[in-house]
């Protein structure tokens, strides 16, 4: 009884803290400007099914893809058992699904154990790739400190959670193999489930278990509590971690860009102004018609996170810092300051900072810091070739290139900054209709040369 109360209290506390952080993040994402991603619903569902659930982009790197599949499938499916754990915890029962499914239940547990082993293998190899093989994309400059530790924590937590599951089953199967009378005598009659045989993986741990029934009971309970509290702790760790992608990958792929990769949006506010220049009959000072939406933004392009769209901000919370983007970026590969992964990490870190500022000082709070310059330097964004290798490489359809272009838009249209050669290009295009200094009248000269 007491344990049920404690369990429910832990569950509620864990759920509450998570919900609070989730709503902080949701609020932050909605600080972004509007962008319509409500079209082509069927295609969106299919994209999510394929890319997030089906992991279709992970197999571009087969080894990592396969191991990731182990961990992903294992984690998702084993979590079905969490449902049982929660119900057992609330009602003080032991393996309540057994009474519903009989011996089929044990088959499922065996399957879970195999998955748990796969997860352990997966995270172990991941650890080796990071720490022993030292794959370069995990060791680049933006991965120092927290991002590196975060990645390792996740691997350790997963390893420990899966081990707890196996230890719990190891102790449990020794108990469950006892005759009901013996269990009854020890006051452990709820373990009397008549297990004949062994669990697939944890049987190999049985040798490590003590003989004493009470000790076994403590180990089983201890591992059980560890597992569920661990899962709740993990849930609450997620939003502070790159591991948040296990949740965010779903909405993020759903709302991903479906138009051709190199197609950029045409800024609506600019269209209005250009139309006015082309059509003198439009009165620039006329009041907008009733009900018309005001599209004039506070500024052109993006200087800070609030100038980006909510989708770009969602991208930043989804980024799993895998570095696939950076490892194929022509600028990064040739030693330029640009790294698309860093663009995403900076956007998220700055957004978190803005969110904390708003929580502490109210919605109008300005801290005098901005994404551009304080986090991302102009030399980074000017190194981009807009080749979209990063968007192609990203396993969860993040679009770093669009942020880069929005930052450039701010620099060029609001601050008239940028490489001097480009100013000459603009002048040429304006005056001669070509980026070079050739007269438009000479445009067909090639015909007779």
């Amino acid at each position: 009884m007491i344990s049920s109360i404690i369990f429910v209290a832990v569950l509620i506390a864990g759920g509450y803290i998570f919900a609070k952080k989730a709503s902080f993040i949701r609020r932050n994402i909605l600080l972004g400007r509007e962008e319509d991603r409500s079209d082509r619903k069927t295609e969106r569902w299919l994209t999510m099914a394929k890319v997030a659930m089906g992991q279709s982009k992970m197999n571009a790197r087969p080894v990592a893809g396969l191991l990731h599949l182990f961990v992903y499938v294992g984690f998702v499916i084993i979590n079905i058992e969490v449902l049982e754990i929660i119900l057992d915890g609330i009602f003080g029962t032991h393996r309540m699904f057994h009474s519903l499914f009989g011996n089929f239940y044990f088959m499922v547990i065996n399957f879970f154990e195999v998955l748990a082993l796969m997860v352990i293998v997966g995270v172990s190899v991941f650890w080796i790739r990071r720490m022993i093989i030292r794959i370069p994309r995990f060791w680049s400059k933006e991965m120092k400190g927290w991002p590196k530790n975060d990645a390792l924590f996740i691997l350790y937590i997963e390893f420990i959670l899966m081990s707890a599951l196996l230890i719990m089953n190891a102790a449990d199967q020794v108990l469950m193999a006892q005759s009901p009378e013996i269990l009854e005598a020890a006051g452990l009659s709820k373990y009397a489930l008549n297990l004949d045989g062994h669990f697939a993986i944890s049987q190999f741990l049985v040798g490590l278990m003590p003989q004493d029934l009470n000790m076994l009971h403590y180990i089983e309970r201890g591992a059980w509590w560890f597992h569920i509290v661990g899962i709740l702790a993990f849930l609450n760790y997620l939003p502070y971690s790159k591991h948040f992608h296990i949740i965010m990958a779903f909405p993020n792929t759903f709302f991903s860009k479906l138009t051709p990769k190199t197609e950029l949006d045409n800024l609506e506010a600019v269209t209005k102004e250009v139309e006015m220049m082309f059509d003198p009959s439009i009165d620039p000072y006329a009041a907008p018609p009733e009900g018309a939406e005001e599209v004039v933004p506070s500024r052109f392009g993006a200087k800070d996170v609030k100038d980006l769209s909510w989708k770009q901000l969602m991208d930043s919370y989804t980024c799993t810092e895998c570095g696939r983007c950076t490892s194929v970026c022509p600028a990064s590969l040739t030693g330029k300051a640009l790294s698309p992964r860093k663009i995403m990490m900076d956007t998220r870190d700055r957004l978190e900072e803005v969110g904390r500022g708003i929580d502490a000082h109210g919605p109008e709070y300005e801290d005098g810091i901005s994404l551009l310059n304080d986090y991302i330097k102009p030399e980074e964004i000017w190194a981009c070739t807009t080749c979209n290798a990063c968007t192609e490489a990203c396993p969860i359809l993040i679009d770093p290139a669009s942020i880069i272009v929005d930052l450039r838009r701010y620099l060029v249209m609001e601050e008239s900054q940028g490489p001097a050669e480009l100013n000459a290009v603009y002048t040429n295009i304006e005056n001669n209709g070509a980026p070079w200094q050739f007269a438009q009248a000479d445009r067909l000269n090639w015909k007779d040369e």
Partner: protein
């Protein structure tokens, strides 16, 4: 030049009360850059040979605004877009072919959202159709058995998912097509996009076109084909960097076909 190129302008056709099947959008590089002009002419030869009724805008054509847009100058881009859309719509253009993947992307995707909806194809797609329908034939000849690799321009491949058309063309002239490790979706940029063509590269430890040229040299191809004047420049410079001009030729798909068809 053996055969004089026939290059009617829209203004001329309209004066005669005629309309073209397709408008050839030449682009700035194709109009002014010495190397790119050869590509333009090669494509015109193909159009002439296939007896395609086409026209160019000539002096009425102006930059699509692509470099301005990628650099962040949305105003300038939309000014160019509005002007060009007015010109194109003034002539009731519906179908456009272009030899520049950047113009292709802008005209096809971005102009359509500004009210200028055209059916836009890249010249590699256009040539592929001409070959398939038998309007032109190119028997290889000069290129039979030559090892060719194709460099996917970002704005054609990744940007707009055109990977097969240029490769089909290359297969039709009996070449041996070899792929670089980084190809199709994973192709490496030549370094020119995003307005980089028009500025100094940012500080780094290597030039992007050199990195890409290493891929080209790695497959030991006799020819690296591409479908973009900017890629062409970048790779040509890259090949020069390694002093390999005698071993590797950088050619546009249009030039290969024009040569193979003996035009």
């Amino acid at each position: 030049m053996e055969n004089k190129l026939v290059v009617p302008t829209m203004a001329e056709l309209t004066a005669k009360g005629e309309a073209p099947e397709v408008l050839f959008w030449v682009g700035c590089a194709g109009s002014f850059d010495d190397r790119a002009k050869k590509i333009t002419k090669a494509f015109v030869k193909i159009l002439n040979k296939a007896d395609i009724k086409f026209a160019v805008l000539g002096t009425e054509e102006a930059c699509t605004g692509d470099p301005a847009k990628r650099a962040g100058n949305e105003f300038l881009f939309q000014m160019q877009a509005m002007m060009n859309i007015q010109v194109l719509q003034g002539y009731n253009i519906t179908k456009v072919v272009t030899t520049c993947p950047h113009c292709f992307n802008t005209l096809k995707n971005e102009y359509s959202k500004l009210g200028g909806k055209f059916d836009v194809v890249h010249h590699t797609q256009f040539i592929n159709e001409l070959l398939s329908s038998g309007k032109i034939t190119a028997e290889g000849g000069a290129f039979r058995g030559k090892k060719i690799t194709f460099h996917d321009p970002c704005y054609l491949g990744r940007g707009n998912d055109v990977y097969e058309a240029p490769r089909e063309v290359l297969r039709k002239i009996d070449t041996t097509l070899v792929e670089m490790a980084r190809s199709r979706r994973n192709s490496l940029c030549c370094g020119a996009g995003g307005a980089q063509m028009f500025k100094e590269a940012e500080k780094g430890d290597k030039e992007i076109n050199v990195e890409r040229t290493e891929d080209v040299l790695g497959v030991k191809a006799d020819i690296v084909a591409t479908g973009c004047a900017f890629c062409n420049t970048m790779l040509t410079d890259g090949v020069k960097h390694f002093n390999k001009e005698d071993d590797v030729q950088v050619m546009d798909v249009a030039e290969l076909i024009a040569t193979a068809a003996d035009l």
